[in-house]
C-alpha cells in the first residue's frame, strides 16, 4: 500500500476530490430507444474495490465504458478526481481497462504489450524497462517478457492484460469480466490474486461481473445493477443481510421472496401472514399502518426447522416435499399449509444428527431480524 513498490501514486485521497476517485452524476445513456443506463449516480471511493454486479444486459458494461470514455453520456456527467471528463476521449483519461477478451496486441511480445502505454506517454526507455519488469514481477510473469502472446496460456494472458493496465498507474482500473474465460480453479486463484494486487497497489478497482461469488470474494463494496439502474450499493454482507430490493435479494445469494398480508403494525413491529397458519413477525420500520401487502426476503439458511413447536415463538407448520443433498448442507423444499413453498437449507453439522426426509412434517421459525422487507404496497 505504500509508495515503496513504485506504483501507488498517492492515489489515496491526495487530489482534493472529497475522497471519490470517480463519480457518475445523473448519467443516462441510450442506444436508440433502449436506455442502457438510466440516471445513475455512482460514487467510487478512493482505493476501494468496487464491483458492478448484475445479469447480462443490465447495463454494467455500459457503465464501465462510460467510466473508460468509450461511451459519452447523453445526460449527466462523469467526474474523475474532481474534474468533469464526460467528453474526454479514452486516450486522455487517467484510467485503464482490462478487457474481457484481454485484447493483447498479437504483434508484440509480452514486454511490448506491457510497455505500450508507457511508450504512448513518452516515458524514457530506461524507466519503461524497470517499470515493465516490476509489473511482470507483480503478476508473477517475470522471465516471460520475451514471449509472444500466442505462446501463453489463458491465465498468463490474463496476467499480461493486468500488468499492461497497472503499469500506467491509473487513478482507476476498470476490469470487464476479466475472469470469465478462465476455468473454475484458475478463476478462484485469480480472484484472490487480484484482491492481493489491489491491496498492495492501493489503486481503485472497478470490477464488472455477473458472478455473485466473484463479487462476494473480492469486493469492498458491491453495486447491484439491474435494468440500467443501481438497485443497491453496499458491502457484501450488508447486501446479503439487508437487501434493499427483491432483485438484490434474489441476485446476491439465494432468497425466498414471499408475499405477506399485513396484519398489524405496532411499535416498529409488523405482523404478516405468509400462508395459512403462518404468521411472521419482523421489524416494521417504515411500514405505514395502512400498508396491505409486503414482499419479504428470507434466506434459506435462516429458516430454523424443528420436530415440534415447543418453545418456538411464531413457528408455523409445513411438510418437506423434496430434499437435495449437497454435501456440506441439504436443500429442502417445504410446502406450507395453503400450498405456498419455501426453500430452506440445513447445515450438515454432524453425521449423528437425524437428517430430514421427504414427507416429514416440520415446524419452521425465522428470527425477526432475518426477515427483510424488500417491497411494500
Amino acid at each position: 500500500m505504500s509508495g515503496s513498490n513504485g506504483y501507488s501514486n498517492g492515489t489515496n485521497g491526495s487530489h482534493g476530490s472529497n475522497g471519490f476517485a470517480m463519480e457518475l452524476r445523473g448519467v443516462t445513456k441510450r442506444y436508440g430507444s433502449v436506455t442502457a443506463v438510466d440516471g445513475v449516480n455512482l460514487q467510487i471511493r478512493d482505493g476501494e474495490f468496487l464491483t458492478l454486479l448484475g445479469p447480462s444486459g443490465c447495463g454494467k458494461t455500459t457503465i464501465l465504458r462510460l467510466l473508460s470514455g468509450f461511451e459519452v453520456p447523453d445526460e449527466g456527467s462523469v467526474v474523475l478526481a474532481g474534474n468533469d471528463v464526460s467528453h474526454v476521449p479514452p486516450h486522455r483519461r487517467d484510467v485503464n481497462q482490462v478487457f474481457q477478451s484481454y485484447a493483447l496486441f498479437p504483434h508484440l511480445t509480452v514486454e511490448g504489450n506491457v510497455g505500450f502505454g508507457l511508450r504512448m506517454r513518452s516515458v524514457d526507455s530506461a524507466e519503461i524497462r524497470t517499470r515493465v519488469k516490476q509489473a511482470l514481477e507483480l503478476v508473477a510473469l517475470d522471465g516471460l517478457g520475451g514471449r509472444r502472446t500466442s505462446e501463453l496460456s489463458g491465465g498468463q494472458r490474463q496476467r499480461v492484460a493486468l500488468a499492461r493496465a497497472i503499469v500506467c498507474r491509473p487513478k482507476v482500473l476498470l476490469l470487464d469480466e476479466p475472469l470469465s474465460a478462465l476455468d473454475a480453479k484458475l478463476r478462484e486463484m485469480m480472484q484472490i490474486e487480484l484482491k492481493r494486487i489491489q491491496q498492495r497497489l492501493g489503486i481503485t478497482f472497478v470490477f464488472v461481473t455477473h458472478d455473485q461469488e466473484e463479487a462476494l470474494t473480492m469486493s469492498d463494496r458491491i453495486a447491484v445493477v439491474n435494468k440500467g439502474r443501481i438497485e443497491q450499493i453496499d458491502s457484501a454482507d450488508e447486501i446479503y443481510e439487508h437487501p434493499a430490493t427483491a432483485f438484490a435479494a434474489d441476485f446476491v445469494g439465494a432468497a425466498n421472496l414471499v408475499r405477506g398480508e399485513v396484519l398489524s403494525v405496532r411499535n416498529g413491529q409488523c405482523e404478516a401472514r405468509i400462508g395459512e397458519g403462518a404468521v411472521v413477525l419482523f421489524r416494521g420500520d417504515g411500514i405505514a399502518e395502512n400498508c396491505a401487502d409486503v414482499l419479504l426476503s428470507i434466506r434459506p439458511e435462516k429458516i430454523h426447522l424443528s420436530d415440534s413447536s415447543e418453545g418456538l415463538m411464531g413457528a408455523f407448520p409445513g411438510a418437506i416435499e423434496d430434499v437435495i443433498f449437497r454435501g456440506a448442507f441439504a436443500e429442502l423444499r417445504i410446502i406450507l399449509e395453503g400450498g405456498s413453498g419455501l426453500r430452506a437449507s440445513v447445515a450438515n453439522a454432524s453425521a449423528h444428527r437425524r437428517s430430514w426426509r421427504k414427507g416429514d412434517r416440520v415446524w419452521c421459525s425465522v428470527h425477526h431480524d432475518d426477515i427483510v422487507v424488500v417491497d411494500r404496497s
Partner: protein, 292 residues
C-alpha cells in the same frame, strides 16, 4: 522459464508428415506446378543461354551474351522505369485501397457483401473493353476533357493520354481490387477490442493506426503489394493502349522479343532477370513480415 508448458489454444500444432492419402491429394497441384511453372521456367533458363539464329530460331549453345545485353543501359533503364511505374502504381493502390478496404471491413455485415460485389463487378466486363473505355474518357476530345473545359477548369484539351500519367491511371485502375481484397480480409479479422485497448493505453487515432492497426493488417498489405507490384511490372496491354507504345515497360520489351523481334533467347534472358527481381521483392516482404 523453459518449464512453463504451453496450454493455450491457438498455439502452434505439431506438424505431421502427410501420409499416402495426403500425397495423392497433393498430386494434381504438384503436376500442375511441374507442367506449367517449373518446366517452362527451366526452358526459359536454357533459352536464355542460347543464340538467335538468322531466321529467329533458337540455336543451342552457351553464351552470356543475352545477359550482358540485358544489363545494357538501354534495357536497364526500361527495367528501372518499369520498377518505378509499378512502385508508383502500388503506392497509389495502397493509399486508395486501404481506406476502402477498412471501410468495407467495418461496415454492417449486409452492406459488406454488397460493397465487395461492387469491387468485383468490373471483372465481369472484358479487361480490354474497360481499358478502351478509359481511353475514351481520357483522350483530348473525351468526356473528362470536355467536362473540365466546360467547367473552365482547363483551357487546353486534356493531354494525358499516351503519357506515363495515363499508364499509371490505367494500372491503378486495373490492380486496385487486388489491393483492396487482401487488405479487407485482414482488416475484417482485426479484433475491435485491440483498437480500444490501444486508445485506452493512451494512443490517439494516428498512433493507434501506425502502432496497432497497420502492423496487424500488414499481411494483407504485403499480399496486396505482391498481387499488384509483380503483375504491374510485366503488364504490356495497358502500356500499349494507354501509353501509345511511347511508355515502354519491360513487359513490352519482352513481348517484342518473343513476337516481332523473334529473339527468344534475349527475351528469355530478360524474363529471367525479371524473375530475380520478383523473388527479391517477395523475400523483402517476407523479411518485413517476420520482423513485424
Amino acid at each position: 522459464m523453459s518449464t512453463i508448458s504451453i496450454t493455450a489454444s491457438g498455439g502452434s500444432q505439431a506438424r505431421r508428415a502427410p501420409g499416402l492419402m495426403g500425397w495423392l491429394l497433393l498430386m494434381p497441384m504438384v503436376l500442375w506446378l511441374a507442367a506449367f511453372v517449373v518446366i517452362p521456367t527451366l526452358i526459359l533458363l536454357v533459352y536464355s543461354f542460347c543464340e538467335r539464329g538468322s531466321f529467329g530460331e533458337v540455336v543451342y549453345s552457351f553464351t552470356w551474351e543475352n545477359y550482358v545485353r540485358a544489363l545494357d543501359w538501354r534495357y536497364l533503364k526500361i527495367l528501372l522505369m518499369s520498377v518505378w511505374y509499378a512502385a508508383l502504381t502500388t503506392a497509389f493502390c495502397i493509399v486508395i485501397g486501404y481506406p476502402v478496404a477498412w471501410f468495407i471491413a467495418r461496415a454492417d455485415v449486409r452492406l459488406r457483401s454488397k460493397l465487395l460485389l461492387l469491387i468485383m463487378l468490373p471483372f465481369w466486363i472484358s479487361f480490354l473493353l474497360r481499358t478502351y473505355a478509359w481511353i475514351s474518357l481520357l483522350k483530348a476530345e473525351g468526356v473528362v476533357s470536355a467536362f473540365l473545359q466546360s467547367a473552365s477548369l482547363i483551357t487546353e484539351p486534356l493531354s494525358i493520354l499516351y503519357t506515363p500519367t495515363a499508364v499509371i491511371i490505367g494500372l491503378v485502375y486495373a490492380y486496385l481490387p487486388f489491393m483492396i481484397l487482401p487488405i479487407y480480409s485482414s482488416a475484417e479479422k482485426l479484433d475491435e477490442s485491440v483498437i480500444e485497448a490501444s486508445q485506452d493505453l493512451g494512443a490517439g487515432a494516428i498512433r493507434t493506426f501506425f502502432k496497432v492497426i497497420l502492423p496487424l493488417t500488414w499481411p494483407g498489405v504485403s499480399a496486396g503489394v505482391l498481387l499488384v507490384f509483380v503483375p504491374a511490372i510485366g503488364m504490356f496491354a495497358i502500356t500499349d493502349l494507354m501509353g501509345g507504345a511511347r511508355v515502354p515497360m519491360v513487359g513490352n520489351v519482352i513481348q517484342a522479343q518473343f513476337g516481332a523481334a523473334r529473339n527468344w533467347p534475349f527475351g528469355a534472358a530478360l524474363g529471367i532477370c525479371f524473375l530475380i527481381i520478383f523473388v527479391a521483392v517477395y523475400a523483402l516482404l517476407r523479411e518485413r513480415e517476420s520482423k513485424a
